[in-house]
């Protein structure tokens, strides 16, 4: 979808670099902002998404598809309540089956520390209005009878959490954005980007030059290289994460299960496969000539053996289930675990939407909408304060979220 030779005008109101979920949901939402603010009501803004490879080639096509409102911080809980509410109507809105299934997320804690985290979160969720319940080990087992809950001190479950199939999600946004006039140009790299008096001048692979009033850096784990070329120093860095899926099975696992102590997550997709991943410790990667770690998407045998071990501890029945395929994708890790979104320090027309640290996919419906509104008329969602790209240089970044999984 999209095309390597889709014609681009010489000037764009908004050039979005990166054809993943963040860029495409923002593009789609920009088409819904007609009549707002600076684009006026007489015309739709000229918006293009420029993707170096094909759509869905990056992290948006490689994640586990989990969507949850069980976070440790009020802002994230509320944002995900908004995103999940959007997910409910999204299949109809985008005209594509998203395989969205709300089986809940079941967090299990075996340590005292994990127990304290879950209790604190549940209290916060109650306050915000998210329907999270605290469960005993045996109650957790009732929700998912295949689990071995020995040693589980406490669990929490939120029935509104769920899973989607990431691929159609991205296609859906892309198709609807294109239908509403967004140009989606694939297999096209942005070779150079330079600030001008009223925006940016871009040179694309193939040689075309164009100008844009606003540029959105939606390249996620790839964003540091574009930012470097503009002298924008942000601390988000790519980090490889591995994941796998099993043979398809009849439905037997309702919630997505997270074992807080190992960091393993496991869900059964609507397609029947178990989808599971976890972080496996590995040495720090060598840095490239820009001082940045490489983006690696190779798979390891080591990961398979670690996750086999960790999965069997919580789900012994998995011993007989076959792994069909494994792959890897980059998390775009920011030091405080929060996204980096909004105007760049020193370059306010360069809008970042990066650094979402492995949870960008689930937040993208809400993030795309609030970012589009910000671009169209300056509407300032409270999360933009927290995601301010300037917070690192200003020394105001602080970690308020500790429920980063995977």
């Amino acid at each position: 979808m999209g095309s390597a030779d889709a014609p681009l005008p010489n000037h764009l109101d908004v050039a979005i670099i990166g054809g993943g979920i963040m860029g495409l949901s923002t593009a789609y939402q920009l088409t819904q902002t007609r009549g707002l603010g600076k684009f006026g009501s007489s015309r739709a803004p000229a918006v293009a998404v420029i993707e170096r490879s094909y759509l869905v080639s990056g992290a948006s096509g490689r994640n586990g598809g989990g969507v949850r409102m069980q976070w440790a911080d009020t802002g994230n809980v509320e944002l995900m309540m908004e995103s999940i509410a959007m997910c409910r109507g999204l299949a109809q809105e985008l005209g594509i089956n998203l395989w969205f299934r709300q089986g809940g997320y079941l967090f299990m804690a075996r340590s005292e520390q994990g127990e304290a985290r879950l209790l604190r979160n549940a209290e916060l969720h109650k306050h915000v209005g998210a329907p999270t319940r605290v469960l005993t080990a045996s109650e957790a087992r009732e929700l998912a009878p295949v689990l071995d809950v020995s040693g589980v001190r406490l669990a929490t479950h939120n029935p509104e959490d769920g899973v989607v199939f990431p691929w159609p999600f991205v296609w859906g946004y892309a198709a609807q954005a294109m239908k509403r006039g967004v140009t989606v140009r694939t297999h096209t790299a942005v070779e150079t980007i330079e600030p001008t008096a009223d925006g940016f001048a871009l040179t694309l692979s193939g040689g075309q030059r164009l100008t844009a009033s606003t540029v959105v850096n939606a390249t996620g784990a790839w964003s540091p290289w574009i930012n470097r070329s503009l002298g924008v120093e942000l601390p988000n860095r790519p980090h490889r994460h591995e994941i796998l899926s099993s043979e398809p099975l009849k439905p037997f696992l309702d919630p997505l299960v997270v074992d807080l102590d190992s960091g393993l997550y496991c869900s059964q997709s609507t397609r029947g496969e178990l989808v599971t991943g976890m972080t496996v410790p590995e040495p720090d990667p060598e840095l490239d000539e820009h001082g940045l770690p490489p983006i690696r998407m190779d798979s390891s045998h080591r990961f398979l053996s670690y996750i086999g071990d960790a999965l069997l501890r919580i789900m012994p029945v998995a011993a007989g289930i076959k792994v069909l395929r494994q792959w890897a994708g980059p998390y775009d890790v920011s030091p405080d675990g929060d996204g980096i979104a909004g105007p760049s320090p020193g370059l306010p027309r360069l809008i970042q939407v990066c650094g979402f640290t492995g949870h960008g996919f689930m937040m993208a419906p809400a993030v795309g909408r609030l970012l589009a509104r910000f671009i169209a008329d300056g509407t300032h969602h409270p999360m933009l304060d927290r995601w301010d790209p300037g917070r690192f240089a200003a020394g105001t970044a602080q970690r308020s979220e500790d429920m980063i999984i995977g």
Partner: protein, 102 residues
């Protein structure tokens, strides 16, 4: 000629008609067709359907043999149980010296 209900990917129930529909929506490469239709993501992992897809795309004039690339082959080469994988890790843990934190 294939009829609309003829399957190209038996694992994921993808028909030739669905491939043609995906092509008409702008899915230009095998990687994209996989990600749009699910072709090749089931138990055979493309061993049955990938060659059929290549032949179909060439026959329909959607691709030339020179330009066609298969999708990335994903490990493991053959499906393997979590039980067998866990045994590898548990064997390694046993052979590692005590006190190394693993």
């Amino acid at each position: 000629m294939p009829t609309p209900r003829r399957f190209i990917c038996r694992c994921e129930d993808v028909t030739f008609d669905e491939i043609d529909h995906a092509v008409s929506l702008g899915m230009a490469s095998v990687e994209e067709l996989k990600r749009y239709t699910g072709l090749g993501t089931g138990p055979c992992q493309g061993k049955e359907c990938l060659a059929l897809l290549a032949a179909h795309l060439v026959r329909q004039g959607h691709a030339t043999p020179e330009a066609l690339q298969p999708f990335t082959a994903r490990p493991p080469a053959e499906s393997i149980t979590f039980g067998a994988l866990a045994a590898v890790r548990r064997q390694q843990s046993k052979s590692e010296s005590p006190g190394d934190g693993t």
